[in-house]
């Protein structure tokens, strides 16, 4: 019952390598602090703000206080829940909801507000100012639509369609894009099953026409960093009837990234540049 010194030395070296390797890999994949994923959202009055962040799988704390420097630094009510998890991370969704119009007014003071930063305090006492992307809060508009919503659907491949019926004769003057994301060709417009390109604007429609807006989130390729973000966009379809009354149709575009495909390392570098 003796030790073979060579075998023991080999075992210890292998042991040290296995431990160091695994600890290094784990540390490499660990986040120093929660990583917020950018959101691009255009929210009409009352719609909740959804913010998402990644934290290490064993982190037990969550967000406790959130304020927006660009919205009067008012405290906001929110719910937080786990949105998904991978081997190393869990993603939390912060759902900031507005119970009534007054809540929104408190933030917006009746004007449109653009939020790009949030001050988040976590349960562990840490407070960080994070880049949240671009979130627009718009006051509600009570106008009679020229296009009446008929049906809407979303598919699992990050696309969807909205069908409307024209309530009067008029024109579509254009599609308003407030984001500088340049995600081109996301919205396709069909008038009575015929595709209409932006170069054809203004496009006339008659009462009873079916106008379909189809969108599809297609990024350049899988390395396109924008595919890691959350989108809740409202494209404004600028319409006008023959009497000159303007009314915008809103088409909602929705995209949530797949948590397993999020490029955490790239987002961390991006965060570091902020």
């Amino acid at each position: 019952m003796n030790f073979n010194k060579k075998k023991v030395a080999t075992l210890i070296v292998a042991f040290v390598m296995v431990w160091v390797g695994n600890v290094y890999l784990f540390k490499y994949n660990s986040l120093k602090e929660p990583l917020f994923i950018k959101s691009y959202a255009d929210l009409q009055s009352g719609m909740p703000i959804r913010l998402h962040y990644l934290q290490n799988i064993n982190d037990e704390y969550g967000a406790v206080i959130i304020t927006f420097p660009e919205a009067n630094k008012e405290f906001v009510q929110f719910n937080e829940y786990e949105w998904g998890r991978t081997r190393y991370y869990k993603m939390k969704e912060i759902n900031i909801h507005f119970d009534n119009v007054e809540d929104v007014k408190r933030l917006t003071k009746g004007k449109e507000v653009k939020l790009t930063k949030a001050n988040v305090q976590f349960g562990n006492g840490k407070s960080v100012v994070v880049n949240i992307g671009e979130v627009y809060l718009s006051p509600s508009v009570n106008e009679t639509p020229l296009l009446q919503f008929n049906s809407g659907s979303q598919d699992s491949n990050y696309g969807g369609r909205t069908t409307t019926v024209a309530m009067s004769n008029g024109v579509i003057k254009g599609i308003k894009d407030r984001f500088s994301l340049k995600i081109s060709d996301m919205v396709k417009l069909q008038l009575n099953d015929k595709v209409v390109t932006p170069s054809e604007f203004p496009v006339k429609f008659k009462i009873g026409d079916t106008i379909t807006f189809q969108y599809d989130f297609k990024f350049k390729d899988e390395n396109d960093i924008r595919s890691n973000y959350f989108y809740q966009l409202s494209r404004l379809i600028e319409c006008e009837d023959l009497n000159g009354r303007q009314a915008n149709e809103i088409v909602d575009l929705h995209y949530d990234p797949n948590i397993h495909e999020i490029d955490v390392k790239r987002l961390e570098k991006e965060e570091g540049n902020r």
């Binding site: 296995v18 695994n22 600890v23 890999l25 784990f26 081997r87």
Partner: protein
């Protein structure tokens, strides 16, 4: 003469192998176990010098195990340990595992050599087989543990099965101490003199 020394080994290994926590407190603290083993092997060194080799490592383990007596963080996975502890503590865990295996080796080797001198073939073979079982199970666990950090949680079940197998191997080491107490514990100094010198 050596009965109480083997008893110390027996109880020492019980404290080391079994870990029962009452909240954050280990009610069977390892450090007491290692100091009992240290005390036992000090006495047994006069029966067989081989036991002497376990004295220092068991004393070191006794000191290193102080921190395990009170765990602020409940044992909820190796990741927690890694995330909440600094790298030196992780190195500490690895080094402690190697030393603890060495302590078992030195004690079992002492029994093996003493049994060989006494011509106790059965005890000798038992010591050899049980050491091998303990060494293999503990080493595999030592190698497997850091992988918990990076493998998917579906594999954890295999790890927990292996913990049980390692525990059984540790249980057999405790049993070996009991057998050694019965077969070698009643040695007198005269017997020792006859066999050793």
């Amino acid at each position: 003469m050596y009965l109480s020394a083997y008893n110390k080994l027996f109880w020492g290994f019980i404290l080391v192998v079994f870990n029962i926590n009452l909240g954050p407190i280990d009610i069977l603290p390892n450090f007491i176990g290692y100091f009992l083993i240290c005390s036992g092997v000090c006495t047994l060194a006069s029966q067989n010098k081989a036991f002497n080799k376990a004295t220092i490592p068991s004393a070191i383990m006794g000191i290193l195990s102080f921190k395990d007596a009170y765990k602020i963080q409940p044992a909820s996975g190796f990741q927690v340990a890694v995330q909440n502890q600094s790298i030196p503590w992780i190195i500490y865990d690895g080094v402690a595992l190697i030393i603890s295996i060495y302590v078992v080796f030195c004690v079992v080797r002492g029994i093996y050599l003493t049994a060989t001198e006494r011509g106790l073939q059965e005890l000798r073979e038992r010591a050899k087989v049980r050491w091998r079982a303990y060494f293999i199970t503990s080493s595999v666990m030592g190698f497997a543990t850091p992988f918990l950090l990076n493998i998917s949680s579906e594999w954890y079940i295999l790890y927990f099965i292996w913990i049980f197998i390692t525990f059984v191997a540790g249980f057999f080491i405790i049993g070996l101490m009991r057998i050694a107490r019965n077969e070698l514990g009643n040695d007198t100094v005269d017997n020792v003199d006859n066999h050793t010198f």
